[in-house]
């Protein structure tokens, strides 16, 4: 790896991050547009979590990771505190692996 690659990626990533707020600062954002943009980000985050839990390095992640995330999700749905959600998810994933589940 070279510093040229690091700097090229840094500049590119910054510009990608800049695109959103620059676009929105150039228009008057209606309430409906605001709702749409918030919902877009929620949808992307949701899809990100599910795809990342199921696919790792282009292949199936195994059952223990998605199972842990699902258990945590269930607790979050029941309004459990974030710390409880996180510990339950990690414990589920760890115990399944200990039991030999991939």
């Amino acid at each position: 790896m070279t510093m040229a690659a690091v700097l090229a990626l840094a500049v590119g990533v910054f510009l990608v991050r800049l695109a959103g707020p620059v676009m929105r600062s150039r228009i008057t954002v209606s309430e409906r547009a605001e709702t749409l943009m918030k919902r877009s980000a929620i949808v992307v985050l949701g899809a990100l979590v599910v795809t990342n839990a199921l696919f790792v390095d282009g292949g199936f992640a195994g059952w223990s990771l998605p199972a842990g995330v699902a258990v945590g999700g269930l607790l979050a749905w029941r309004r459990a505190p974030v710390l409880v959600v996180v510990i339950a998810a990690a414990a589920t994933t760890a115990l399944l692996r200990l039991a030999g589940v991939a």
Binding site: G20, T35, A47, L48, V50, V85, V86, A94
Partner: protein, 233 residues
Amino acid sequence: MPHRILDRLDRGVLRDSAALIAGLFIVGVSFGAVATAEGVPWWQASAMSLFVFAGASQFATLGILAGGGGLLAGVAAGLILNLRHVPYGLAVGDVYWTSLRAKLIGTHLLVDHTAAFALAAGADRGKARRAFWTVGAVLFVMWNAATVIGAFAGRLIADPKAFGLDATLPVILVALVLPSMKDRRTLLAGLLGTAVALGTSAFLPAGIPVLLALVGLVVMWKGAGTGDRAAAA
């Protein structure tokens, strides 16, 4: 500047982000360790964490370049993975769009978890602002410290899969996103979008499927207008 950021710290968010620290720390350590294993000097791995500050992109670019791929291919893979920050910026960009300095630093701190914490604050702009800066500052410090530690001592530290720590970061996002899903339209859009992302994950480069999830928003076309306000609150 440091005291300005401290002013913006929020205790509730700080407590919630405590769990983030463990999860992010282990990923940062593993980034430093992988970089070292690939023969990348520690200062270069650190420069990447400092100036890029995007975990998935860093892993992707490093992986391709270390595997003998060209600079263009490596940087392109990292950038494609990063494109999801465009919708994030559109949704929460106003949170840090104040002074020039806040704009520049805020833009650099835009990642999955800062966007999710700001979104979870809903219509409370003050809370969204505190959440964004608190989580951003915590993550930036942790990510860079972990990279250095991983570069030097990565071999001594267990991998991210130990103790199920790889479940930490995704489940925090779940906890932050779920309340918004109580809005039926958002839930429908999320389910449809996730199905599209999953269906395309097998054959599209990483980073594109999550953007295709935006197709799920077609559910907004039906009966547009009133009664549509509670979303993302």
